[in-house]
């Protein structure tokens, strides 16, 4: 039987624009190319600007995880200015990042992932669903559709909680360098406690059981969509006056080996990306032959790595499952529950008082790297400044790691590896199966396609 090349595009229900080309032979996928088809170039936009623009401007990389970029840019500036973070600022920042993460995970599960497994009503925006492999009883299905619509208000409540402190979202305002500009007053704390208790109930009573129901009905997906099993996390929810202590540990997990990540071992590759090297600068080149993505390939110690909730949960020993599409979904839902409990705890630990912020006037360093885990995995920002002006700004996003295209060693990234070797049970099942695997990574192509490297590798230690 001959090989068949199929373009799966657009891959809907995700953030940004994604096209995936696969080669099918004898009902199996023998090759996959995952291509982000959107370029914006925030790094180029940051060049020449005042470094304190970074928190607000880099949030504009992404709509669904804006505070992820705000957080890492905040840490980066804390390092450049050598700030001391008050304890209330540490709690507030983590509460805000957690709220954005909850919003992200809940929306990913219900709005993006659920229609892969649940028959949605035959009305816009659910027309032509073509779910050929539907396995839920009518009653269970109806309940999950109902939860889809209930989740609307719950994910909104996560953002409302964030806004009580952050002023607005996406692209909040109060989490800046040196702390948080808003006072954690008693009324705000109790308002947020009411909101998080509502979110917590929903997660416990709907999201977790819904995940378990889908995981049991589609349990074969615990064996589908696996990657080579290399996981990386920079640690999440940072505490300490210098952001030095992540609550959830960082780690590089390869097989049973767990080690501490070192940013100097990160490298990037543009073999399959629409970029060329010109005078030491990487510039976009949308007609480059054989390239298929604006995402660059990212490696750690020469290998591609998977990141995200599953990586964090495995590295921290919170989850003992395997490595598959369903494990990714399962770990994300378990993490969602854990985070709601953390937010309740942190809100109770906040001490009502004035805005916990102390900004120094001038930066004391010229270069810094900040990296931490956010919703989708490890996010890194680095900056070189002269005076207060940006000379070079760099961003490496979790989606770039997960959606790495083939590098110069023809090594595939985690998503391409997960797709390759997949068996497609019938001709009408192609989109369904591929879609389930791809979405289990929670793709965010808006983030993934910003990588525009000035030159050189990361040097020096991380600022926290």
């Amino acid at each position: 039987m001959s090989k068949k090349r199929v373009m799966f595009s657009p891959v809907t229900r995700l953030s940004g624009l994604l096209s995936v080309e696969v080669v099918e032979e004898r009902g199996g996928i023998i090759e996959a190319k995952a291509g982000g088809t959107l370029f914006r170039g925030i790094e180029a936009i940051m060049k020449g600007r005042h470094i304190t623009d970074a928190v607000y401007l880099t949030q504009r990389v992404c709509g669904i995880c804006s505070l992820a970029h705000g957080t890492v840019a905040g840490y980066l500036l804390d390092g450049l200015y050598d700030h001391e973070l008050p304890e209330n600022a540490q709690y507030l920042r983590n509460i805000m990042l957690a709220a954005d993460t909850l919003q992200n995970h809940i929306r990913h599960f219900y709005f993006f992932s659920l229609p892969d497994y649940v028959k949605m009503p035959e009305q816009p925006p659910f027309l032509n669903q073509n779910l050929h492999d539907h396995r839920l009883s009518q009653q269970d299905n109806a309940r999950l559709v109902n939860h889809y619509f209930r989740s609307v208000a719950v994910s909104q409540e996560c953002h409302q909680l964030l806004t009580v402190f952050g002023g607005k979202i996406p692209h909040q305002h109060s989490f800046v360098h040196g702390g948080v500009a808003v006072a954690p007053t008693a009324d705000k704390i109790s308002q947020c406690l009411a909101l998080i208790h509502s979110v917590h109930s929903f997660v416990k009573e709907c999201l977790v059981p819904d995940t378990e129901l889908i995981a049991s009905a589609y349990r074969d997906y615990f064996r589908i969509g696996g990657t080579p099993g290399r996981f990386l996390s920079f640690g999440m929810f940072r505490f300490g006056s210098k952001n030095q202590s992540p609550l959830w540990r960082s780690g590089v997990l390869a097989g049973a080996q767990l080690s501490v990540p070192d940013v100097r071992l990160i490298s990037e590759d543009i073999t399959s990306s629409w970029f060329v090297n010109a005078d030491g600068q990487e510039i976009p080149s949308p007609s480059k032959p054989a390239a298929y993505s604006y995402i660059k390939s990212v490696q750690y110690a020469g290998q591609t790595f998977e990141m995200g909730p599953l990586a964090r949960m495995l590295i921290n020993g919170f989850y003992r499952g395997g490595n598959s599409a369903m494990d990714r979904i399962y770990a994300r839902s378990m993490e969602t529950l854990l985070i709601t409990e953390l937010v309740i705890d942190w809100l109770n630990k906040l001490v009502p008082g004035p805005p916990p912020i102390q900004q120094k006037k001038v930066p004391v360093k010229e270069y810094a790297v900040a990296a931490t885990d956010v919703m989708r995995g490890a996010l890194l920002h680095s900056a070189r400044i002269k005076g207060e002006q940006v000379e070079e700004y760099r961003i490496i996003t979790p989606t770039a790691w997960n959606f790495s295209p083939k590098n110069n060693k023809v090594q595939t990234g985690p998503v391409e590896s997960a797709l390759t070797g997949t068996v497609i049970p019938g001709p009408d099942m192609l989109y369904t199966v591929l879609g389930r695997i791809i979405r289990s990574f929670d793709p965010c192509i808006s983030c993934g396609t910003h990588v525009l490297n000035a030159k050189g590798d990361l040097t020096g230690k991380m600022v926290f």
Binding site: Y56, L57, R60, R107, F111, H159, V164, K168, P170
Partner: protein, 322 residues
């Protein structure tokens, strides 16, 4: 309900701590559809070059909530974010809707449109043979739509996607289509502005627009005019640092030249807004955002003019009054 009353409700309700816009908007829409035997507003939503923040903002709509908007107000036929269909099935829906609802659908564009290198910096979908760029889709659907709504500042004016040095040569929708484009700017949009505009289109057609083609209903006055800290400005009391309670003109606030109703409408179920969070307004609804607002924490008279950008086509105004 008459147009004037509808506009009044949109304007006033969120200020009154009586957030029953749902009752007014959805009930009015139901009445309208019944009396005119009209359907919902058919919408084709195309995401182009932006961060996807406007669809997240849309998910945050309250009174009416997202589910109510989808069931009672619009038929969201094509949307990369929400639609269940994928791959060619999704493209088929797009082609079918564009043909069958020609002259009837509302085209919502979320993001700027890159023009450089044949627009290849934003590809909406690929087939085995060609890439369908944002520009291709807009030039195809733009003339077929009844209304075109540019959602967010990137779609309206280029926004962050077109910020200097604008590597991809991105522009707002108005620079691609030779027709009226309703700009609902904001980075992101406040969902009330967007949902209110959709309801207005269904009930009364295009709303009254300001000089930047934005619904005057929402953008007609400056942030400065209604700011809770206005009295500090008038008396010359300025904040020295973030977290202070005085006027933040000294810390870079762009409120005096930004048309938006944030001070009274506020964000995410109307609970807060940037100035109340002790930070400056950065003028995200403006035609020259972000370059005209940058550096964000530098006072307005000292901000850098864009070094090598062309001057905006329309005048800088657009909002009435101080």
């Amino acid at each position: 309900m008459q147009k004037e009353e509808f506009n009044y409700r949109c304007r006033e309700l969120s200020a009154g701590l009586d957030f029953q816009l749902t009752k007014y908007v959805l009930d009015t829409v139901q009445e309208h559809r019944k009396s005119k035997s009209a359907g919902k507003l058919p919408v084709i939503w195309i995401e182009t070059s932006d961060s996807g923040d406007n669809n997240i903002a849309f998910m945050n709509t309250t009174y009416p909530y997202l589910g109510q908007v989808l069931s009672g107000l619009i038929d969201l036929l094509y949307s990369n974010t929400f639609m269940a269909a994928q791959g060619k099935d999704a493209l088929n829906i797009l082609e079918q809707a564009a043909t069958e609802l020609r002259g009837k659908f509302t085209l919502v564009v979320e993001g700027a449109v890159p023009l450089k290198d044949n627009g290849l910096y934003t590809v909406i979908a690929r087939t085995e043979n060609y890439s369908l760029t944002a520009r291709d889709v807009l030039t195809w659907l733009g003339p077929l739509a009844k209304y075109v709504v540019a959602l967010g500042t990137c779609a309206s004016f280029g926004g962050v996607s077109a910020a200097r040095p604008n590597v991809a040569g991105s522009v707002g929708v108005r620079d691609v289509l030779k027709r009226e484009v309703i700009n609902v700017s904001g980075c992101p949009v406040n969902p009330d502005w967007f949902v209110g505009t959709l309801a207005h289109l269904l009930l009364f057609g295009a709303p009254e627009l300001d000089s930047l083609n934005r619904p005057a209903l929402f953008y007609g006055f400056t942030v400065h005019r209604h700011c809770q800290r206005r009295s500090y400005f008038d008396q010359g009391h300025f904040a020295e640092k973030l977290g202070d309670l005085e006027c933040m003109f000294s810390l870079g606030c762009v409120g005096p030249r930004t048309g938006a109703d944030c001070p009274y409408r506020q964000w995410i179920n109307h609970v807060n807004w940037p100035v109340r969070a002790n930070t400056p307004c950065i003028g995200c609804t403006n035609e020259d955002f972000p370059d005209g607002s940058s550096p964000f924490f530098t006072p307005l008279p000292e901000k850098n003019p864009p070094p090598h950008e062309e001057q905006p086509a329309a005048s800088k105004g657009g909002a009435k009054g101080e």
